[in-house]
Amino acid sequence: MLTMPTPTILIMTKLVKNTLDAILLLLGVSVVVFSLLYLTPGNALLIQVGVGSDRVLTESYQALFSLNTSPFIQYFEWLQGLLRGDFGVSYVYHAPVFTIVLHALGVTAVIASVAMVIAVSVSLPLGLYLGSNGSQVLRTPLTTAVTLGVAVPQFLWGILLLYLFGNVFSAFVPGLYVPLSSILPMAAAGSGSHNTIPALAYLFAPALALALPAIAILSRYTYNSVRELNAQPFMLALHCRGIGGWQLLRRHTLRNLLVGYTTFSGILLIDLLAGSVLVEYIFNIPGLGNTLVTGIHQRDTLLVQGAVLYVAFLVVVINKITDGLYYILNPKLRRS
């Protein structure tokens, strides 16, 4: 008869399993992406040379783009590079993929985080208010206003906010991205403090454009869930027992709400982190979305592989976190 494994071993096994799953997923994604890029007509050399150049396509020129190597070897070599920590050099930017993606990810991550903070801090209270109590008068205009966030196509929001912050408020020049780092004083050039407003505005405006649809989706979900919850008999029972207001909210409403809310937020966060292509294009931000699009249009295989790997990794992490949250929040799901 087997004795029960100790908790440590259980946790270790789980950890190893999860890591293996994660690695398998990352491999799967990279294989699919590589194949898709390979099967899509066109290659980086062709696109660089274009129509007007009379540069000769010598063997060594072609070799720079791994054009004479079979796709299997290319993929295998890429894997080998990964193990060494080498993500390769981008065909388009002539710089290490690792550096480019890290930088782009940094830019996108900051904007995505701000967007998420805006979305959650607006949608959660709003949804709770509308679902629990909500004056009839306010409910309709509020729900409509909120729904507009998702009804208006994202690139329209982008253009509107760019115009609002750039031309109406003159907080920045549209299209001239001001990174947060420019707020830091430069040694020789003097203080960078005059960059504070443009940099912050250039962070807030695109984040808002990204947050508006998220607010719409999350508010609606919260509102519906709360109404559904409040309709349940146990809520009435609690109310009769005299539990109301904050306590009810904290102990019961939120607990039941948060499972689904977290799922939605997780998915939205993943979308945001992958970089919103349209918003980044309109605001001219060097984020992950723009980088990925450039990479795909120019068939920069190494850049796309690197960027997708990062995003896939984040997807795995976020999924694991949301899964974990299910277990914490919904006891019914816990199994020994």
Binding site: T144, S170, I282
Partner: protein, 547 residues
């Protein structure tokens, strides 16, 4: 729920009265939203006039639509890169706005009798940005690099006829050619870089041009500063930043911004985008692009191989309508593969061989084996809206005479692969950017050209451009003109137009010149003392003379 429970619940539910009918709010919101694009459009025009900028303390902001593909002048392929880096590098000769070549780093040159030897004398005061003088060894190094001696991935076909380049003395360079060739002069405009700088020039581009690179932020901007020791004197504008803004609407908003850091020059705008600018701040410079836009035929596609079919197509297409609708009537109609900007090489006397006439088109089709029409797919790159719109108009015309035309939009990379490289298409609409050299412009139709994706073959044409390449000046010019005549008569493609564009130059800046090739000449720019209110419309008339 039981009846009592329902009753209790109803009593617990407070009653509210609606103040506003629900649909009013929704309707109002919907209406407001529809007004928003209108407001955006209108408001971008009503900004106040920006105050005069002081370009001694402010940088001149010029918008470009694409990022640099590389900073290395020997590797750059994209027009966008070349037009910017033109300011950082100089060659032995320099192009001018009318397409001719003048002295650059070379102060003079001589040619031997059978034109197989070119000897250049370098200016004594030509310096690189690192302070070193430009010497013949640098020229030798640069050209050997261009011919593949240093980096095997770099090689240019047009330099294949150069058999030797030698430094006669530190200020004299001699090129020896295997044959005399009229195209070789444009090869002497290529960038000269310091000896042994090949490995670093992509990161730290050192040249001998009027500006040196101050800062490059990929996808964002290229900042240049004037090089004080430039051999023709320091540039009037000290700091210029090329802002990379791909999105057109963002560009318009940036131009209309009231900030002191807004855009100063926006080159090459199509008419409808140009109209969105606040014109009280800008002068308008109209020009043609020296771009040949064509409906290209794949001559191996059976219906298109038939000349009567091609005649029918020419007669079916309403070229005037295309130019009117898509360029506000400012484009120049073309009859062959060259534009008037090419000066004396341009054949201006080609009468339209088969003018627009729907009845005639139907008759021509009836004469062909395809009396009841045929299927035609026009493959267009989706990123060039002008070509897509042109294809739509052409398709409409062709459908009227019974050619069942569908449009297939593909991504640029797919177009390059399927159409340009593999010639896997029937027809396409594409534009070819201008070159200084007429041979490079026309050789696309030569049967020996590797990128002849039209599969067009005409031996007379081949002979003519070959003659043009090797004969003397006046014979050469005539041969090029005759070659254009053949393309027109033979309907090698359907030649559409040279589109027109507008450059917006902020008031207070003068000196903008349009070149027939991709060049943004910052050296020629300078500030004016007063704000002039007159709009400066100069159309570009060129006489293309080479020495």
């Amino acid at each position: 729920m039981t009846a009592t429970e329902t009753a209790t619940a109803q009593q617990l539910t407070p009653k509210h009265r609606r103040i506003l009918p629900k649909h009013t709010t929704l309707a109002l919101t919907a209406v407001t939203l529809t007004m928003l694009p209108l407001i955006v459009g209108a408001c971008t025009k009503t900004n106040n006039m920006a105050t005069t900028k002081n370009y001694n303390t402010h940088t001149l902001n010029i918008r470009i639509p694409q990022d640099m593909d590389t900073l290395d002048p020997h590797k750059a392929s994209s027009a966008g890169t070349k037009e910017v880096m033109f300011n950082v590098f100089r060659g032995l000769l320099t192009p001018t706005p009318n397409g001719s070549l003048v002295d650059g780093i070379a102060s003079s040159y001589s040619v031997n009798n059978n034109r197989t030897q070119y000897t250049f004398h370098l200016r004594p005061n030509a310096l690189f940005h690192n302070g070193n003088p430009v010497e013949s060894k640098d020229v030798v190094y640069s050209y050997r690099r261009l011919m593949g001696d240093m980096d095997p991935s770099i090689r240019y076909k047009s330099l294949d006829i150069v058999t030797g380049v030698e430094a006669v003395n530190p200020s004299t360079v001699r090129f020896t050619l295997s044959e005399s060739n009229n195209s070789i002069l444009t090869e002497f405009t290529r960038a000269i870089i310091p000896e042994n700088s090949g490995d670093t020039v992509g990161v730290n581009p050192v040249g001998a041009g009027p500006y040196r690179l101050q800062n490059y932020s990929p996808t964002q901007f290229v900042a240049l500063e004037a090089f004080p020791q430039f051999y023709l004197g320091e540039a009037p504008i000290k700091n210029v930043t090329f802002r990379i803004i791909p999105h057109m609407t963002t560009t318009i908003l940036a131009a209309n911004s009231q900030s002191s850091n807004s855009l100063d020059i926006i080159p090459d705008l199509p008419y409808n985008n140009f109209k969105m600018l606040n014109m009280s701040n800008f002068n308008n410079i109209a020009a043609n692009l020296n771009l040949v836009q064509i409906l290209a035929y794949n001559h191996t596609y059976a219906p298109l191989a038939n000349k009567d079919v091609r005649i029918a197509i020419s007669q079916a297409i309403n070229k005037t309508r295309i130019i009117e609708l898509l360029t506000n009537n400012e484009g120049t109609p073309l009859e062959s593969h060259m534009t008037p900007l090419m000066g004396q090489y341009y054949n201006s006397s080609i009468a339209t061989p088969y003018p627009y006439n729907e009845t005639e088109a139907l008759l021509s089709l009836k004469r062909s084996p395809y009396k009841n029409g045929f299927n035609l797919t026009i493959t267009v790159p989706s990123n060039y809206q002008l070509h897509v719109d042109t294809a739509v108009l052409i398709a409409e015309n062709l459908n009227t005479i019974g050619i069942n035309t569908t449009i297939k939009t593909v991504e640029w990379g797919v177009w390059l692969n399927d159409v340009y490289k593999s010639a896997n298409y029937e027809a396409t609409v594409v534009g070819f950017a201008g070159k200084l050299d007429p041979y490079q412009t026309l050789r696309r139709y030569s049967s020996t050209y590797s990128n002849n994706f039209f599969h067009y073959k005409n031996t007379t044409f081949d002979q003519l451009i070959n003659t043009a390449l090797h004969s003397n000046e006046s014979q050469s010019e005539k041969a090029y003109r005759d070659a254009q005549g053949i393309l027109a008569e033979d309907l090698a493609a359907y030649f559409i137009m040279d589109p027109a564009v507008h450059t917006a130059v902020r008031k207070g800046i003068a000196g903008w010149t349009t070149y027939p090739i991709s060049v943004i000449d910052v050296y020629a720019l300078h500030t004016t003392n007063t704000n002039t209110n007159t709009t400066n419309t100069t159309t570009n008339t060129n006489t293309n003379t080479t020495k």
